[in-house]
Structure formats: C-alpha cells, structure tokens
C-alpha cells in the first residue's frame, strides 16, 4: 500500500509541481493555437477543465469494471462525449467564441493532458481524489493559457481582455499575434520556468547543507 498523500496536495500539485504545460509539456497544441487573446485562452481553459473534471470522475467511477485491454478506447469515448457537449453548448450560447476557437474545441478529444490524467491518475484512484486532481490540473492549465494569452494580447494589441493597458505611443508587436509569437512566448516561458525550478532546488539544497 503506497502512502496516501493529503487531499489538499492532490489539488495543489497540478498548479505547479506537475503542471501539465510547464512540467510535462502536455496539451501544447491548444495552448499555442488559441492564446491570441486572453479571453480565448480563458474559454479554452474552461472548456478543457470541464471535460477533464467530468471525464476523470466518470473514468474513476468505472475503473474497476473496464477491462484493461479496451481501457484507452473507453476513455476516448467518454472524453469525446463530454467534448461534444461542450462543442454544442458553445455553438448555441457563444457562437462568436466558438468560431474563434474553430476546430480546437472538437480537438480537446486528442488533448494528451486529458487522456494523460485519465491513464495516470483517474484509472487508479478514488472518485473524490480524481476530482481534485482534475480540478488542480485543469486550473493549472487554465492559468497558463490566460497568462500566455494576456502576454500576447498585451504586446500585440496593447490590451488585456479588451481593456487598453499600454499607452497609444507603444508600437504593437505584430509578431505576437501571429503563430510565430506563440512559439516564441511559450518557449521563453518554459525556459524561465525551468530556470526558476533549478534555482529553487539549488536554494533548498543549500539550506539542507547549512542545517546539517
């Protein structure tokens, strides 16, 4: 029996320690594609979190009756059901957002983050823990998308969520709202995240040395 970690931790780990984008590089396609503006990032993050939470709960509740050989196919079918729900709801209620995100809402099905959590966590853990894990990972994903979208929107159009932040004198960086800007911004963010992790690790190692 492995040691049970606290419920608190199941949620928090998704925010940084095993962050889907910065630590595991999962789900990069939607991350890059939809973060032209902060609002698109928010919508995509919410849609993904919704699918992640519900599919994790369902997968966790049927984990004992699904035969091992067909588990991946079963997971994908469950995920695609929730993606269809999101897709239809968005088409009906937010037609403009749905248009802006285009095929990336249906493509949540193949987001490796969701299948990754289903396979690595929900298929092995109790329902409530899977819920917390999905909530944590979804929130981490959402925050990263909003941050990335905000940076690109700010430098590309002077605004965040449509509100002007930078003065008119600031000349906009066209490259930020082009595909190339997505790659550059995410590359730099990933690099800084790695540098921060390394710095923190070295710091804690030094502290251990001092206390010893």
């Amino acid at each position: 029996m492995k040691k049970q970690v606290s419920l608190h931790y199941e949620f928090l780990k998704g925010l940084w320690e095993i962050h889907p984008i910065f630590k595991q590089a999962l789900g990069l396609c939607p991350t890059l594609a939809v973060t032209v503006s902060a609002i698109n990032g928010l919508a995509m993050g919410l849609a993904t979190t919704f699918v992640l939470i519900f599919s994790s709960v369902i997968i966790s509740s049927i984990r004992k009756i699904v035969p091992n050989q067909v588990r991946i196919a079963t997971f994908i079918l469950i995920i695609s059901t929730f993606v269809t729900i999101v897709d239809l709801v968005m088409k009906a209620k937010f037609p403009e957002l749905s248009k802006a995100l285009g095929p990336f809402i249906p493509l949540i099905v193949v987001n490796c983050l969701i299948l990754g959590r289903a396979e690595a966590f929900a298929s092995k853990n109790k329902i409530f823990r899977s819920f917390l894990d999905a909530l944590g990972n979804g929130t981490g994903f959402l925050l990263a998308l909003v941050v990335l979208g905000s940076i690109r929107e700010l430098l590309g159009t002077r605004c965040i969520f449509g509100f002007q932040i930078l003065p008119d004198g600031f000349s906009t960086w066209m490259v930020m709202i082009l595909p190339a800007g997505a790659f550059l911004t995410l590359g730099l963010l990933l690099g800084f995240a790695n540098a921060y992790t390394k710095w923190k690790k070295e710091k804690s190692e030094k502290e251990i040395l001092i206390t010893n």
């Binding site: 990069l28 695609s80 269809t84 897709d87 285009g102 249906p106 082009l178 790659f183 550059l184 690099g191």
Partner: protein, 190 residues
C-alpha cells in the same frame, strides 16, 4: 487548378504544424533525428490520406443522410483509432521492412491531433472526395517538411551552447517560432 491551390495552401501557407499548431507533440518529440523524422512524416502522410477518404465516406454516407452530425467527434476519433490499428496490422503482414521503418510511430499517430484536425477541416470546408485527398496529401507533406527541417536544425543545435534551462523543449519551441516566421513568407504565392 483549385486542387493545386488546395495542395500548396495546406503544405506551405497554412502549414499544419507552423500555423495551425496541429501535431506539436510529435513535432517536439520525434524531431531529434532526420531519419526518424522522415519515417514519422511518411507514416503521417499515409494515415492522413486513408483517414481523409474514410472520414469523407462516413460523413457523406452515414452522418449527413441520417442527420447524425452531432456524432461527428466520437465517430471520427473511433474511426481513426481503429484505422491506425488496422493499417498497422496490414503493414506488418504485407511488408516487414516498412513495418520496421515506421515502428512505434504508427500507434503514436492515433493521438496526433493533426489527423483529427484534418478530418474536421475537410468536413468544415465541405471538400469533395478528390479535394479531401489532395488536402490530406498537402497537409501530410507540409507536416513532413516542417518535421524534417526541424530535425535538421536540431541535429546542428546539439553542438550549440544552449543555456541549461532552455535545453530541450524551450529551445525547440523558439526555433519553431523562427521557422514559423520564415514560413509566413509563403503567404504571397497564391
């Protein structure tokens, strides 16, 4: 003429990797050696072409006549998953040389969002069967081109002195950004 435009559009101007961001995972994962990049690219072209035919048939023979459009996502993903398995079995039986060359790349393709993206794009734009096939060939060639260029750059990059936190995925993304900028130069050719 339209067919040529569809092909060039999918391969260069709206390159799947560099402007639609589809298939980023294999783009980052399998782009460290030119030889494996070529195998992966060929496998993707192959599966994409078959997927475009099968998804077009499903869309026009089953989903539209019976008004089942809301089942698009589950049916496409199931078709792609079973198709990849089937193709894998056939190749294994027919030619073990090709099977060894493609190796683990075939199963990996199931989770490649470029394949599902291709089927969805072809459906959204209402392509005919021939147009879908040309679109798939163009998209697959564009994917292979981007992957091979990237692999070439990364082989050189191994000799470069990259700061430690930026090694691996971060520097690959930054290089991909520069590559995307150069691909924008194709925008004027149609």
């Amino acid at each position: 003429m339209d067919l040529i435009i569809i092909f060039i559009g999918a391969a260069l101007i709206n390159n799947f990797v560099l402007s639609y961001f589809l298939g980023i995972c294999p783009f980052i994962g399998v782009s460290s050696k030119i030889s494996s990049a070529i195998s992966m690219g060929l496998a993707v072209i192959f599966v994409m072409t078959i997927t475009s035919i099968v998804s077009w048939l499903i869309n026009h023979l089953i989903l539209i006549p019976y008004h089942l459009e809301f089942l698009t996502i589950p049916s496409f993903i199931l078709v792609i998953a079973s198709l990849v398995q089937f193709v894998e079995m056939v190749i294994k039986k027919v030619s073990s040389a090709i099977y060894r060359a493609l190796g683990i790349f075939l199963p990996l393709i199931t989770t490649n969002c470029a394949i599902l993206g291709l089927a969805l794009f072809a459906q959204m734009r209402d392509y005919s069967l021939i147009e879908s096939i040309i679109f798939a060939l163009g998209a697959g060639s564009g994917f292979t081109l981007a992957l091979v260029i990237m692999a070439g750059i990364r082989e050189e990059l191994e000799l470069a002195n990259v700061p430690e936190p930026f090694q691996g995925a971060p520097i690959t993304l930054i290089v991909a950004g520069l590559l995307a900028l150069t691909f924008m130069g194709f925008a004027g050719i149609i």
